[in-house]
Amino acid sequence: MQRQIDHELNKLRAVILSMGQAVEAAVEEATEGLIERDPERLKKVREYEDRINAYHLEVDELCLKLIAQQSPLAADLRMILAIIKINADLERMGDQAMNISLNVRDYLSKEPLPEAATIASMAHTVRKMVRDAMEAFVKADLTLSEQVLLQDDVVDEAKRTTFKRLIEVMKKDGTQVEGAVDLMLVSRNLERLGDHATNIAEDVIFASTGKDIRHGGFHSGQKP
């Protein structure tokens, strides 16, 4: 027997999934714009960003209605709480994709730097994290969620390495400072995207098991 709340939750899941796909597309356009040096791709990010913001409001409204009408408890309550948090993360991810597109637009007007290749690799990992986090949400897949958490360490390390290299570039050649700063901002925004994907993975684990592994719980050995 399907309960009324199941219908409402399915509707909510479908919207958040569409929102996740829009975020994935926005990140793809922003990062491919860098890799392919294509300003046209960057322009598409704005469209996705508008769509993400509309989903953000829709999800909030659906959650509010669901809480008011269905008074969810236990797994239902955890799922709605997770969705509210994922909604906020996805909205911020849309903003970060937008930031990246602006950083890349600035960067493309300057002389290319070889460090852009490292950032391309970092972007690849982050996009996989976003995709995996949303897939983990759809399938309530704890193993995939854990993989996202592990990938976050890779992204953090990539950001540190990129920063070091770009600082070296700036020290060596003053004319490259502006381009290096643009790439640092891209790198910083990618790292934040990874953090939000990690948050989503943590929320999936919470919704499925009730275990809160934020703030070091996962790395301190507390497995879901």
Partner: protein, 256 residues
């Protein structure tokens, strides 16, 4: 002075029968002082019977009997020679449907237990009645019509009158069997607020079918199913991350 034991009421291996049918299959459960415990579960799961065993009301049901051990402040309530009437003075009860004594005034409804048990008379009786009505958050609404019939009050007021009647003899434990199921939301909110106030003095065990009510006002929740206690724990835990799959299924409306 000795510190009172944190466990006020202790139940071990409690079984309840009607004729040869076993309704409760050996319940173990402890209740601390100043706690509100909610009892939830589908109809017929034994939660009301459990409550009625605590003040030995179940044995008044034709064919009803109980086995096991129930202690209140260390005293075995089922020990031979224990007077059930005296137990009911210490473990008060409020029922689903408000049941003021129809022939009595508001004052007499509350005074009846005090008179019957020869606890108070005269000025002291009046003071105890007023105190009980104040505790039940009813005094301001009835102080000018204490001689009116208890039946002249609204449903919610009648239920608070019954609570005042139960509180008048200062029971350490109050049992409430779906006390708000016949009341409108405003009266329900008043009773819930009252329960939270009362727990400073009185330990409350409440049967409810309203999950949100249990979540709102209880400290611990017990889930009964087919005469077994499936889960008993802090209310927040039970309603957010229950340990047992059956609890999860029941409170999310997948059965029951």
């Amino acid at each position: 002075m000795m510190t009172p034991s944190p466990v006020l009421l202790e139940v071990n291996g409690l079984k309840a029968f009607v004729e040869s049918t076993e309704i409760l299959h050996g319940i173990d459960l402890g209740v601390s002082r100043q706690e509100v415990v909610a009892f939830i579960g589908p109809s017929g799961c034994g939660k009301s019977t459990f409550l009625r065993c605590l003040n030995r009301l179940h044995e008044e049901t034709p064919g009803g009997r109980a086995e096991g051990r129930v202690t209140l402040e260390g005293q075995d309530l089922y020990a031979s020679g224990t007077d059930p009437v005296q137990i009911r003075r210490r473990i008060g009860m409020v029922f689903q449907k408000p049941n003021p004594f129809p022939s009595m005034s508001i004052f007499e409804n509350v005074a009846s237990g005090l008179r019957l048990n020869r606890i108070a008379k005269g000025v002291e009786l009046e003071a105890r009645v007023e105190a009980a009505l104040r505790e039940a958050a009813l005094w301001n609404e009835v102080k000018d019509k204490l001689d009116a019939s208890g039946m002249s009050l609204s449903g919610g007021q009648q239920q608070r009158l019954c609570i005042a009647r139960a509180l008048a003899v200062k029971p350490p434990v109050l049992l409430m069997d779906e006390p708000t199921s016949a009341l409108d939301p405003v009266s329900t909110a008043k009773i819930e607020e009252l329960v939270i106030q009362l727990k400073k003095e009185t330990t409350i065990l409440m049967v409810t079918h309203n999950m949100q009510q249990a979540a709102r006002i209880s400290d611990r929740t017990a889930f009964f199913l087919y005469g077994d206690l499936v889960e008993y724990g802090p209310t927040t835990k039970v309603f957010t991350t229950p340990s047992d799959r059956r609890t999860e299924e029941y409170i999310t409306g997948r059965f029951g």
